[in-house]
């Protein structure tokens, strides 16, 4: 393929990336974000997959079988712990305005400048080789595409080297899109958008290649395995128990890497906009990693089978399509690898530049320059300078050292460097007693052993140290051989990781247990440990004692951050706290804490500490101050909790009162309704009576038959009134509880039979067919009042008789034994009840108020009284009905135990 085609392709891709970053950023700034932050966050996290994944996984698979997968299984395994670990880190960084790992660690361990500097140096040393292998992969893939697999040559003079120009372009991208603002805590949406796009491109490119190899060169997965030599397939058939340590250690390395590698910390912690974005990433990331690894083994096997043995397995990804004459596919594959490298270089260089600037360059300047003379944009300029320095050193490393090593080995050495931070970070999150001494000892010990066991053999390999150091050990001491320390035999990476981590962790605990914590450090330890309790008003939760002139503090902030930003910050503080300036012109301690956090966001926590301590006359913080503050905080928390509980209780009672008030209103309305209905019901017969009496009075000569007829009507109306008055009184007694039931052991079915006998004439006269089924329930007894129960049955049966048609009516009465009760059902085939009336059927005067039907004989209190009596017996009554299909009234009565019935009988 022509070189200019690849160059144009790469430039077009980079331009598209720049344009996307600009688009995402400008849409966000205009308040119309194009993508939701959770998706960008989820797809930016696979920045973890670099050129090492893209090209190196295949190489590692050819060499070690499934072992390549540990690098992806480790991150996947950490996902269940994200809510406990990652979320806590995010919260701490947000509250403390931290954006780099050295700041995170140094801030917790007494804001130690030593820890900050050591961490930064170790990280830069550990990661620069990793950046350099990305440059190597880009240069290699460019060479393979333009000259062919067999003729790739990396000794090109720098002026003809594509990696050199790429470094320059990426430096410009970082300066334009990342180091635009002074405060490092500002989110870089454009950068995140570009990284997320990179992730999608590399995934699709790899899937397209994998699909081609598996389904075009072969007939699917099974075919790949069956057509390749048994020796190559054997590596993938099982994992021998002997590989367990290697497998576990590699997994642990990658578990640490997914959160602690500078680029991962940058994307997962510093750039996180919302803690809930973790929820989406929790399934997107493992799915992504599964997909990007899906075709690694088929490509590795196909490359072994189809390419000459002289081809480096790291190149199979490009060599396979080229060997088949698929140049377009090779170009797509190149773009995938290019995007993987570009994303990694951009984020890692940004993170390292910030680290270098915050922990080394800015403190160096601060120590030499007077605070008042600090010029604006110092941090920004030092970060931009750091970008060039890092890319230059990475390029130098790639040109002269990285050439000699496979991708995977350099990547793993970087992973081993980063796991040295795991004890410190976990200690910071979950152990209050870890201290600065332990952290320093652990870090120095761990990195010394890391350098001795993993870096020193590399220097021997490239000829910078004599072979004897590695083969015989320094000074001929074989037990000190860097790759066989104390005779331990494992692969170099496992060996180096075990020893360095062991030394690191032991020294961390030893130092923390032997040396005391300073009160200020204790304060921060509590803050990290209980971050969720301390997030709100964090400035109040940290002790600061001393004298700092308010104007001096403001002047330094204006110098570093600009006067506009400083004014905004003062306003922000004063909106949350009462005072920021004391009467004597001194800054309030809370304001000092606030400004120190803000300055941390611009220059790092150690530099911010340096600035404040150089401005102020600080007093020693004593343990009692911290304890008092913690006590105060816990008392405040307790009070807040009590207040919240009381407020909830008050809200609950208010709701209850509102409900009670509504109920009272309902009762009042019911009462009015009741009086109005009773009055109406009484007035109707009275009017009739009055009319008949007047007729009789006005017509003395009226015939005897006629007079008798009128008198009968009068009598009936008086009966009606009497019945109504009796029922109203009965209802009132039942509701007020003044009715005393005469409770005795009774047989409900016997009472029912008696009732039916009484009403037989009524049913017969209306031609109603009556049927019964009582089963074995006749002897069942309940505690009840015979007369009242009979009243219930009469009411329900009368209703049934009232609403069925003459000569067609059917009424069926059944009794059924339930688990702990007796159910009596009365079923009729009358006109039924409309759905909307079912719930109101037991209301007082419902029938009277139901204007939709022809008035029936009765007061409308019968069912209401029936319900009340059933309830007084501990039972319940319900109705099921459909219009035109009759109604079923079911009454359930609880069956008493025999001993209880005996007691009732005795009483």
């Amino acid at each position: 393929m022509k070189a200019w085609v690849i160059i144009i392709l790469s430039l077009v891709y980079l331009s598209a990336l720049f344009a996307l970053a600009y688009f995402v950023e400008s849409r966000y700034r205009s308040g119309r974000p194009f993508f939701k932050s959770r998706w960008i966050y989820a797809f930016a996290l696979p920045v973890y997959c670099t050129a090492w994944t893209y090209y190196g996984s295949v190489g590692k698979a050819v060499q070690d079988g499934w072992e390549f997968l540990t690098i992806y299984l480790g991150p996947v395994l950490t996902i269940p712990l994200w809510w406990l670990v990652l979320r806590k880190m995010i919260r701490i960084c947000k509250v403390q305005r931290i954006s780099t790992l050295p700041d995170f660690v140094a801030n917790r361990y007494d804001k130690s400048l030593t820890i900050s500097v050591l961490s930064s140096v170790f990280i830069v040393l550990g990661i620069i080789p990793y950046i350099s292998i990305q440059l190597k992969s880009i240069a290699s893939s460019f060479q393979i595409l333009t000259r062919g697999v067999q003729h790739a040559d990396h000794s090109t003079y720098w002026i003809y080297d594509s990696a050199f120009y790429l470094s320059m372009i990426l430096a410009v991208f970082i300066i334009v899109f990342v180091f635009r603002s002074l405060e490092t805590t500002e989110k870089h949406r454009g950068l995140m958008g570009a990284i997320a796009a990179d992730s999608i491109v590399k995934l699709f490119a790899f899937l397209i290649l994998g699909g081609y190899v598996t389904y075009f060169l072969f007939d699917g997965f099974g075919d790949v395995f069956s057509r390749v030599e048994a020796s190559a397939v054997g590596k993938f058939e099982r994992i021998a128990p002997g590989q367990s340590i290697e497998w576990l250690v590699l997994m642990l390395l990658s578990m640490a890497a997914i959160m602690l590698l500078p680029r991962q910390f940058q994307v997962a912690v510093a750039e996180n906009e919302n803690e809930n974005d973790i929820r989406t990433a929790a399934w997107i990331l493992p799915l992504y990693l599964l997909l990007i690894n899906l075709f690694v083994v088929p490509i590795a096997l196909a490359g072994s089978a189809m390419l000459p043995a002289s081809v480096d397995p790291d190149s199979y990804v490009l060599a396979l399509p080229l060997s088949q004459g698929q140049t377009a596919l090779a170009a797509i594959t190149f773009l995938g690898g290019f995007s993987a490298s570009v994303a990694m270089i951009i984020v890692s260089t940004s993170a390292l530049s910030m680290i270098l600037s915050n922990s080394l360059l800015v403190p160096l300047v601060l120590k030499r320059v007077e605070n008042q003379r600090l010029y604006a944009n110092l941090p920004l300029k030092s970060r931009r300078l750091a970008v060039w320095v890092i890319l230059f050193v990475a390029y130098f490393f790639y040109k002269f050292i990285a050439e000699r090593f496979p991708l995977a080995s350099i990547g793993l050495v970087s992973f081993a460097a980063m796991i040295q931070f795991a004890p410190l970070v976990l200690g910071a999150l979950f152990w209050r007693d870890g201290n600065r001494h332990g952290a320093q000892w652990g870090l120095i010990g761990g990195f010394t052993v890391w350098a001795y066991t993993l870096v020193l053999p590399t220097l021997v390999d490239v000829g910078l140290l004599p072979q004897t150091v590695s083969a015989e050990g320094p000074f001929g001491l074989s037990w000190l051989r860097p790759e066989r320390l104390f005779g331990m035999q494992h692969s170099p990476i496992v060996h180096g990781t075990i020893w360095s981590l062991l030394v690191n962790t032991s020294l961390y605990f030893l130092g923390s247990l032997l040396k005391a914590q300073s009160p200020k450090e204790r304060n921060m330890a509590e803050f990290y440990y209980d971050i969720y309790d301390y997030s709100a008003k964090s400035e109040e939760r940290l002790v600061w004692k001393g004298h700092l002139d308010y104007d001096d503090l403001i002047k330094v902030c204006e110098n570093l951050l600009g006067s506009v930003r400083t004014k905004e910050l003062v306003q922000d503080f004063s909106s949350r706290f009462d005072a920021y300036r004391k009467a004597n012109g001194q800054a309030d301690p809370k304001f000092v804490n606030y400004m120190e956090q803000v300055l941390s966001g611009a220059v790092g926590s150690s530099s911010a500490r340096l600035l404040i301590s150089s401005l102020a006359k600080e007093e020693e913080v004593e343990l009692k101050d911290v304890i008092q503050l913690l006590k105060h905080s816990s008392e405040t928390d307790k009070l807040n909790k009590e207040l919240k509980a009381r407020s909830q209780e008050l809200r609950r009672r208010t709701e209850e009162l509102v409900l009670a008030n509504d109920r009272l209103k309902d009762i009042d309305e019911e009462k009015d309704d009741f009086i109005s209905t009773v009055t109406h019901e009484l007035r109707t017969p009275l009017t009739s009576i009055k009319a008949f009496v007047e007729i009789i009075q006005d017509n003395p000569e009226i015939e005897e038959d006629e007079r008798d007829k009128f008198l009968t009507h009068i009598n009936e109306e008086i009966d009606r009134m009497t019945r109504l008055i009796n029922e109203v009184l009965d209802m009132e007694k039942l509701e007020s509880g003044s009715t005393q039931l005469s409770i005795q052991p009774i047989r409900p079915v016997a009472i029912l039979e008696d009732t039916l006998l009484t009403m037989e004439h009524l049913f017969h006269s209306k031609g109603i067919h009556l049927s019964t089924d009582f089963g074995d329930t006749e002897d069942l007894r309940i505690a009840g009042d015979t007369d009242r129960l009979k009243q219930v049955f009469i009411n329900v049966l009368s209703n049934a008789a009232k609403y069925v048609k003459e000569d067609e009516g059917r009424v069926r009465v059944t009794a059924t034994l339930l688990n702990k009760g007796l159910r009596i059902s009365i079923v009729d085939n009358g006109r039924g009840i409309r759905k909307e009336n079912i719930d109101r059927i037991f209301d007082k005067f419902f029938q009277a108020r139901d204007q939709t039907r022809k008035k029936q004989k009765g007061s409308g209190l019968g069912l209401s009284i029936t319900k009340r009596i059933v309830e007084l017996h501990g039972g319940m009554i319900s109705v099921e009905s459909e219009p035109g299909k009759g109604a079923t009234f079911s009454m359930t009565f609880p069956l008493e135990r025999q001993d209880q019935l005996a007691t009732i009988e005795h009483e």
Partner: protein, 63 residues
Amino acid sequence: MRRKRQVGLAGLFLLFMLLLNVPFISIPDGTVAGMPRLMLYLGIVWLVLIVLMGIIYNQKERS
């Protein structure tokens, strides 16, 4: 996220740590339908983890 669910997540971490390490990972041996059993085992465990994480992390919390 409630404490109970956090403990559950820590338990899941331990469970998958076990499933993806020796001795469990040494059990699948040989091939099935031309493919290594180990490949299928890893794929299934991985998929189960994705589904579980999707469900657990995206469950609505009850007030």
